[in-house]
Point group: C2
Chain length 197, copies 2
């Protein structure tokens, strides 16, 4: 059982790095012009520390992203209505996608950094599988919806970071108009939650 506990300074540095990266990504215009050296400098550590702690650039971004996203995931896995289980499927699908949209609006640059990593990235991060299968299971409970697997992929694609960024940033769509547009679209697919199932 080689479960050695890390040294205190290592832990402190890890937090400092995550905090610095968060700050820099939030402040920058395009995620690729915050470099690893920038993050190291802002955190007051050496570059070696970054790479030892996170492996590579992708690892760092992914760690940061998942840390920030964790509350949402928990709320979906076992939280109260409308996100948690025990919610009627159409309503829950809508709530989940709305939550993802809001998260990406609130963490635009970070999400952009993650999904813009490598070339075919978002789909090979293991967390995507979680989102996909979670949503698929919800959709499967909706009678008459064919091919829940593909539908889950397609609906998740509608809230991808770069699309959200394009609409909210470049095209200046308001948060509420985006949420309304998404809600209308999702409703079209899953049926109206207001109507009795």
């Amino acid at each position: 059982m080689p479960e050695r506990k890390p040294r205190a300074d290592a832990l402190r540095n890890r937090e400092a790095v995550l905090a610095a990266a968060d700050r820099l990504f939030a402040a920058c215009e395009r995620p690729e012009d915050v470099t690893m050296a920038d993050i190291a400098a802002a955190a007051g550590v050496g570059k070696g520390t970054l790479f030892r702690g996170f492996g590579d650039r992708t690892g760092l971004i992914r760690a940061l992203y998942e840390a920030r996203l964790d509350p949402v995931r928990r709320a979906i896995a076992d939280g109260p209505r409308p996100l948690g289980p025990g919610t009627p499927p159409a309503e829950r699908a809508l709530a989940v996608l709305d939550a993802v949209l809001c998260f990406k609006l609130d963490h635009r640059h970070l999400s952009l950094a993650l999904e813009g990593t490598g070339s075919d990235s978002p789909y090979q991060a293991e967390h995507y599988d979680w989102w996909h299968s979670t949503l698929r299971e919800v959709l499967e409970q909706i009678p008459g919806l064919p091919d829940a697997d593909f539908a889950a992929h397609a609906l998740l694609a509608a809230v991808r970071a770069d699309l959200v960024d394009h609409l909210a940033g470049r095209r200046r769509a308001s948060r509420e108009s985006l949420r309304a547009g998404l809600a209308a679209f999702v409703t079209r697919v899953v049926g109206d939650p207001g109507t009795a199932p």
Copy 2:
């Protein structure tokens, strides 16, 4: 009217570069390990020629992509049924998205290269605007479909290159199963083209 015609060797080289790039992207595993130097070498020209002719990496990929995609665009802009105008909207929306899906299946690596360019890329290439407004206009003719603007974005997102690549490549979905899944999903949104409007 400064419309000077280019030299003959310049034209030959331009074609050689496009052909070489096409070949290399089709053969490679991940688009980012085709370098500009590789393309220049394969085309038998110097790197300077590449950058003079296309500006930068994105410009080259974009030129290649648009050249290959042009037939599809023409067929949509003024072709016969079911792609061209004069097709009932629900049927046409389905046909357009199916055509895009097939194109991306047939040019996986090239599409991946284009959409993986920069970080928030596909939405700032001017050709995206064409696709979006074309599809939006079709959707607007479907009665009862709210927010055609957002719906057009969302439907286009369902056929993004990296998603298609993920499903067809990593997850080994067959061409026909993908087309069926997309058709079912689109039908859910636009209504069944088989039913009278």
